[in-house]
Symmetry: C2
Subunit: 157 residues, 2 copies
DNA sequence: CTAACTGCAAATTCTTTGCATACTC
DNA sequence: GAGTATGCAAAGAATTTGCAGTTAG
């Protein structure tokens, strides 16, 4: 996933500030720092890793604030949350990325991304049949990757 | 999801017993009771609900045993686990059900099921492109249902 | 100024683990 | 009878909450 340009990053920031204003919430350092950290991360970061990453930098932000800000970022659609089978949620930037899906290795938990336009079609058809207004989807494919450095590979046939 | 016939139920039971024997594990009352409870449930039951359901019946089985048995049922492919966005995992019978996917209401958390053969195609193509051996998939569509008794419906446009 | 935000630690929720007792093989 | 499975309660992991102090508007 390619990094955003400075212009795009600024737009993300503006959107978040606008969202906060619209909700009557304050623009705080902490909130912007969390936003930047997620957009700087390679992708698929969990709340605690984010917390430790910020702790190591000059910004020290409590877990409570990290979670609080994540919640705001989800509400503003600038970040999406994923639950890849385990209990720990992962977050990634959503802005300006085309909607993509995930391929998860059951052995090494490596995550790959792919994109297939047919899912859009399925989504539209299902929405129609079930009279359901679909906001988003998550397609996760679980299996075994063939990477040479895949760990925990089981002997199971 | 239609209920299984007595014959099918017996086959499920036999499969589980065979699985236990193969692993050198014991056939205990508790394990069979948990298996039955999941297959009797309407579907999409979580561990704690299962625990309380069993508690109310004559069978009193501890949470530890519920979780232990769920793990064995997952290993034996008789039950599948789902993570629908929240932290609480849900379980459902897998045997003799065609693979299906889920439509989840963001307001009332009602879950509907659907099935689309195109997902199979996508799965095969992605497996090919990424040299990945796919074992299973989960496609979740999140949105707003139109049921009259849908609760928590937000005013958001 | 003042209400909202933050940090801290304690509380909650879901799941796993350790250990004495009970039961399968 | 030997040793695994169970129940209980306590531990653990992820996330949330309450409250006193801090800060944006």
């Amino acid at each position: 996933m390619s990094r955003l340009s400075p212009d795009q990053r600024e737009e993300v920031r503006d959107r978040f500030l606008a969202f906060l204003k619209r909700r009557g919430l304050r623009q705080t350092q902490a909130r912007l720092v969390v936003l930047d950290a997620i957009y700087d991360a390679k992708g698929h970061i969990d709340a605690d890793t984010l917390y430790f990453q910020l702790k190591q930098q000059k910004h020290s932000i409590s877990r409570a604030t990290v979670y609080n800000t994540l919640s705001l970022l989800l509400d503003s659609d600038l970040v999406v949350r994923h639950q890849f089978g385990n209990s720990q949620a992962k977050y990634e930037p959503s802005f300006r990325f085309w909607q993509h899906d995930h391929l998860i290795c059951l052995d090494c938990h490596h995550i790959m991304e792919f994109c297939d336009p047919r899912i859009q079609k399925i989504q539209e058809m299902v929405a129609d049949i079930y009279t359901f207004e679909i906001k988003r989807h998550a397609l996760n494919l679980y299996g075994h990757c063939q990477r040479v450095d895949c760990t925990n590979r089981s002997a199971a046939a």
